[in-house]
């Protein structure tokens, strides 16, 4: 690159910095914030592209965004099949089963305080344990196909759901409980009319945490051995072949899947837990 081109890049950099600073200094409305973040992201992409081309960074180190986009378009059918394999099968099935099991077990031991006191500390401790490491065992038991990944996801999502549901079921206030008692409401009635609605914010937040955990679990489990399909498989094998644009494209797909799942769950939260202070504030 010539000195003139470098000067142009520097000028563009100054323009970028100035525009982001000015936009950030605008009023505190929500849209101004979103626009600032979007503009910043766009400038990062622009400079990524310019600098990678100008400095002739090898493709193995960092492919330009245009190359990633190209790989995304060129391998769209393959990446779609990978996404279906990983997200559509392993993550969805594992997430639904793990969350469902956690919720069911929490409900089942709701009337057994002894088991609760015993299970809760053990379940909380599992958050410190790298549960995803059971992947090789899951592969041995359930084979290379998606059920073994779903099994890892079930294990990873079960405990957060159990802990959150147990916490949620205890969230109903004493006053409300006593009111239900004075109505001579049965256990099931109290559960349905008071305690489960009170537990909903806890349950939905566990669903959100678990969505990310499930995606991580499925992708990492595919690093340990998988059929010739799946996002984790694509990432690890193409990285080994130094085909970095396709690796980045697979990561973009995984990121989009994670964000979409999260956005859907936030929308669900607005629907079912609209009364909760944390939702009303947002």
């Amino acid at each position: 690159m010539t000195a003139g081109q470098w000067a142009a890049v520097l000028l563009l950099g100054a323009l970028a910095a100035w525009s982001v600073v000015r936009l950030a200094a605008l009023d505190a409305s929500r849209w101004a914030g979103v626009a600032t973040a979007a503009l910043f992201g766009a400038w990062v992409l622009v400079f990524w592209e310019i600098l990678v081309r100008a400095l002739e960074v090898p493709r193995v180190l960092l492919p330009a965004p245009s190359l990633i986009l190209e790989a995304l378009a060129a391998h769209a059918p393959r990446l779609w099949a990978d996404a279906v394999q990983t997200v559509g099968k392993a993550v969805m099935v594992g997430w639904a089963l793990g969350c469902g099991l956690g919720f069911t077990v929490a409900l089942a031991i709701d009337r057994l305080p002894f088991l609760q006191r015993g299970l809760l500390p053990v379940a909380s401790l599992t958050s410190a344990v790298p549960l995803v490491a059971v992947a090789p065992i899951a592969v041995m038991w359930f084979g290379f196909e998606w059920p073994s990944k779903a099994a890892v996801v079930v294990l990873m999502t079960f405990f957060p759901m159990l802990v959150s549901t147990l916490a949620g079921l205890r969230a109903a206030g004493m006053l409300e409980r006593e009111l239900m008692h004075s109505y001579a409401a049965s256990y099931a009635r109290t559960l349905l009319a008071l305690r489960l609605p009170c537990a909903l914010p806890f349950i939905v937040s566990a669903l959100k945490i678990n969505a990310t955990l499930a995606l991580i679990g499925a992708i990492v489990a595919e690093f340990f051995g998988s059929p010739t399909q799946g996002l984790g498989f694509r990432i690890s094998t193409e990285a080994a072949r130094m085909n970095m644009p396709l690796v980045w494209a697979a990561i973009v797909v995984a990121a989009v899947a994670g964000s979409v799942a999260y956005a859907l769950l936030v929308a669900l939260e607005r629907q079912v837990a609209f009364w909760h202070p944390s939702v009303r504030e947002a």
Binding site: L61, A133, S236, M244
Partner: protein, 300 residues
């Protein structure tokens, strides 16, 4: 402090909490034995026992509990394998599991320290700069919903082609996994002082640095430690995943992978148990520091 004073009902409290946990753990152990028996029985009948000659259930039970490559090793087999590797081999031998624990713990801790430092610096910058707060913070929050661990193979390739190997790539992956939760929590924590407190700093004509040091940082500590616990656990997963693709010879992740290549189930399980123990040890250390720091603060 209530904790330090001898509590009159401590024996009852221990019974109240310890007994249920003990019962649950015993149940889990029993379940593990039952699973070992159920999962290993078909293999045992097929490979070890002579079906034609017949066998008693005691024979079946003892065979399922002591198979060489069981589908599910019994707890005592895992325990014996772990103990054997810890006592029979020198500490620097790759047959000793503590060697692998040390390798993994080293990269986890290095990454944890770097990630925490990076997160602290960035959160201070974000709190003091409106531009960074508006432009960068949404991306950091959004990254929480994305499986960032998937970038690990890319980091390995990049650092590998730049000539870094050994502990550095693993520590970098552990670092960026620690960095996100620490940043998010610290921004929240540094903002937690009430308006009245910040205004009081202002009336004292305290500089930004003094306000940060005397007010914001202490107020952020309760937010920092939970993030550190999450971060160190995430860093451990990152370090273990980083050990997979390069065919690393050392570390718990590599141990898991070689175990699954060669069908050494007992080896997988003992690596699994030790990685769980390492995770518990790391978070317990963070929790211990937390208790020490927060107690000192409330006592002062």
């Amino acid at each position: 402090m209530a904790e330090r004073a001898p509590h009159p009902g401590w024996r009852r409290a221990a019974l109240h909490h310890g007994l249920p946990v003990g019962v649950v753990l015993a149940l889990l152990l029993l379940l593990w034995y039952a699973a070992a028996w159920a999962l290993n029985a078909p293999g045992a009948i097929e490979r070890v026992l002579d079906a034609d000659a017949g066998y008693t259930w005691q024979e079946l039970l003892s065979t399922t509990m002591s198979m060489e490559r069981p589908l599910m090793p019994a707890p005592h087999q895992v325990l014996l394998d772990t103990l054997e590797s810890l006592t029979e081999w020198p500490l620097d031998s790759p047959r000793n599991l503590l060697f692998h624990v040390a390798v993994t713990a080293q990269s986890t801790l290095l990454g944890f320290v770097m990630g925490t430092a990076l997160g602290l610096v960035l959160s201070v910058l974000i709190v003091h700069s409106r531009t960074l707060d508006r432009a960068l913070m949404p991306w950091i929050v959004a990254s929480q919903t994305v499986p960032v661990l998937a970038i690990a193979p890319i980091v390995l390739v990049i650092l590998g082609s730049l000539g870094f190997s050994g502990v550095a790539p693993k520590a970098v992956i552990a670092m960026y996994l620690c960095f996100f939760p620490v940043t998010v929590a610290m921004v929240q924590g540094l903002r937690s002082p009430q308006r009245m407190e910040t205004e009081m700093m202002h009336t004292y004509a305290a500089s930004r640095w003094q306000a940060l040091w005397l007010l914001r940082l202490p107020a952020a500590l309760p937010y920092l430690f939970p993030a550190l616990r999450v971060g160190v656990a995430a860093g451990l997963v990152g370090a273990m995943v980083a050990e997979l693709p390069t065919g690393a010879q050392a570390g718990l992740g590599a141990r898991l992978l070689t175990g699954s290549y060669y069908g050494q189930t007992v080896q997988i399980w003992s690596a699994l148990v030790l990685s769980a123990l390492l995770g518990l040890l790391l978070t317990a250390s963070v929790a211990a520091v937390e208790r020490l720091v927060l107690r000192k603060r409330s006592g002062a």
